[in-house]
């Protein structure tokens, strides 16, 4: 077998393994979530049962409907079987197919998160650059103070403030992400700054643009990618309260409502998706750091 052929086979088997791992994790995560929801109090009472019009027969109907989901394992099995066919069931609180809800809302959250992640990382990089490069302790403290301030303000409050000032919420999301990735970015920049390769390149008199690209961005790409993954998770975490409070019709708001109304099908779908996203980011990170590195190191 040729070396490249072997490489392809190795990569394929690695891909297959991480895919299998991914599926197992997603299934377990979904099950854990379903179990938590199922056994949380208030599951088989309708949140609207208080103060609704008359309707004892309607309440009875809702109880019966929920009773069908009483058995966790059969529910999950049925749910997965349907989910494979793309049917995530019908939301309890919206009375709309979950797939439809997700389709409507995913772009909203996706766009917010994308802007937030990109903006947050860029701003964090700028702050990190200010904290690392000029080597002025006061500047470093000022930047740290600014980051601490951002860390102290709840993302939702930040978003509300932007909202009331009619400023774009994307910026608020970015500002919420900034302090949470700042530490890592600073470390990356410091490592890059202190790397011998950069010094050597400087000694060759390379331009700043080339330095930034070849000796900072490219070598740090895997770490930056991993960071983007972390930032994406931070973004989704922050987006739940932001969307819920600012009434942005996205996935985060959906999750909030689903939790409050113990909407099992919707929550299961959301957990499956979130687990999938998180696990994919993880798997991608693992695939990017090839194992072959050690074998070479040792063999030399």
């Amino acid at each position: 077998m040729t070396a490249s052929g072997r490489g392809v086979v190795a990569l394929a088997s690695k891909l297959a393994r991480s895919l299998a791992g991914l599926i197992v994790i997603v299934l377990l995560g979904g099950f854990a979530a379903a179990a938590l929801v199922r056994y949380s109090p208030g599951f088989d009472v309708d949140e609207n049962a208080w103060n609704t019009k008359g309707g004892s027969s309607a309440a009875e109907a809702s109880r019966v409907r929920r009773a069908q989901e009483n058995e966790l394992l059969p529910f999950y099995w049925r749910y997965l079987k349907a989910a494979v066919k793309g049917d995530f069931g019908e939301s309890e609180s919206y009375r709309v197919p979950v797939a439809e809800l997700l389709q409507d809302r995913a772009p909203v959250t996706g766009r917010l998160a994308a802007w937030g992640v990109a903006g947050g990382i860029l701003m964090a990089a700028l702050c990190g650059w200010l904290a690392v490069w000029p080597r002025v302790p006061v500047l470093e403290l000022v930047v740290s103070g600014w980051v601490a301030l951002l860390l102290a303000v709840p993302p939702a409050v930040l978003a509300l403030a932007f909202f009331f000032r009619e400023a774009p919420i994307q910026v608020a999301v970015a500002l919420a992400i900034l302090p949470r990735v700042f530490g890592t970015i600073r470390a990356i920049l410091r490592d890059a700054h202190e790397s011998p390769a950069l010094l050597a390149a400087r000694s060759r008199g390379l331009g700043t643009g080339v330095l930034a690209w070849r000796y900072v961005l490219v070598p740090m790409a895997p770490r930056i990618m991993a960071l983007a993954g972390v930032a994406a998770m931070v973004a989704f975490g922050a987006l739940v309260p932001i969307e819920a409070l600012c009434d942005v019709p996205g996935i985060g708001q959906l999750a909030w409502k689903a939790a409050l109304s113990r909407d099992l099908p919707l929550l299961s779908a959301l957990t499956l998706i979130v687990t999938f996203v998180v696990a994919s980011i993880q798997a991608a990170g693992e695939l990017m750091t090839p194992e072959t590195i050690h074998s070479k190191e040792v063999a030399e």
């Binding site: 791992g21 197992v24 994790i25 377990l28 995560g29 854990a32 979530a33 938590l36 929801v37 056994y39 949380s40 109090p41 208030g42 302790p137 470093e140 403290l141 740290s144 103070g145 980051v147 601490a148 301030l149 860390l151 102290a152 303000v153 709840p154 939702a156 409050v157 509300l160 403030a161 009331f164 949470r180 530490g183 410091r190 991993a226 998770m233 309260p241 409070l245 999750a255 939790a259 409050l260 929550l267 957990t271 979130v274 687990t275 998180v278 696990a279 993880q282 693992e286 050690h294």
Partner: protein, 259 residues
């Protein structure tokens, strides 16, 4: 250096006022002066009163006692758990953290609240809430720590320590810990304020610190009314205090990183 000293003095002051809250606070946190609701700052009430006539300054002091002790304790618990979980490194862990980061932990708080007897003293339920927060938050730091552990596993000195036949736990405690410490400290610094804020949002669901016990979280909830802030800037006091504490902590870490 001067920053560091100032930060230290500030943190000690905050810590002291928290510990001594019952002695220092002019009033109890739940005492209602019903004749003077929403009083402006000054005079009898240093920071004014809230809409039930409770002294904001006293409430802030007690809240500081709650948040300044419990949020860091919860953060420490998370990091500690993360370290314990990281002892079992490898694929299983990465799957576990993924699940840990994706499942809706909120329900665990709902379950806790439901299982807790209703007559549980508010103090106990506050402590338990933060403890649960600490337990539920293990996945984030675990992921970061496992990343640096994986890096360490590749390090030459790790192999060398093994070749010297040093026991696994000694390697972990003596060789690895100095490296992990700064990572763990950074995680701790990020989590502590996050938990102060998380408690605030849990409070919205009735899963946080309940009336009438104050916490930074539930005092911060007032910030959702931007106009109230405009009328009474004293509402910003908890935010300013939280920020200053974070800054003081940061002043230490700047110094640490320079080292």
């Amino acid at each position: 250096m001067i920053w560091r000293r100032m930060a230290l003095i500030f943190l000690v002051l905050v810590g002291l006022s928290a510990v001594l809250a019952p002695k220092v606070a002019p009033y109890s946190y739940s005492e209602q002066f019903r004749d003077s609701p929403n009083a402006p700052p000054g005079g009898k009430f240093l920071l004014g009163t809230d809409d039930m006539g409770r002294d904001r300054f006293s409430r802030l002091l007690y809240a500081t006692a709650v948040s300044v002790t419990l949020a860091p304790a919860a953060a420490a618990l998370s990091v500690l758990l993360a370290l314990v979980v990281c002892a079992f490194h490898g694929r299983v862990l990465s799957g576990l953290t993924t699940i840990g980061m994706s499942i809706p932990w909120m329900f665990l708080f709902i379950i806790l609240r439901a299982e807790l007897p209703l007559n549980t003293a508010p103090e106990v339920s506050v402590v338990l809430t933060f403890a649960l927060m600490g337990v539920a938050g293990w996945a984030g730091p675990a992921r970061v720590l496992s990343g640096s552990i994986r890096e360490m596993m590749e390090a030459g000195w790790m192999l060398h320590a093994r070749s010297a036949g040093i026991a696994r736990w000694r390697i972990a405690a003596v060789y690895a810990w100095p490296h992990l410490r700064s990572v763990a400290a950074a995680q701790f610094r990020a989590l502590a304020p996050a938990y102060v804020l998380a408690e605030a949002s849990l409070g919205l669901l009735g899963l946080g610190v309940a009336e009438p016990v104050p916490s930074w979280g539930n005092l911060l909830r007032d910030l959702q009314h931007p106009d109230m802030v405009r009328e009474n800037p004293a509402l910003l006091a908890p935010l300013v205090l939280l920020m200053l504490c974070l800054l003081a902590l940061e002043a230490f870490s700047v110094r640490e990183s320079v080292q």
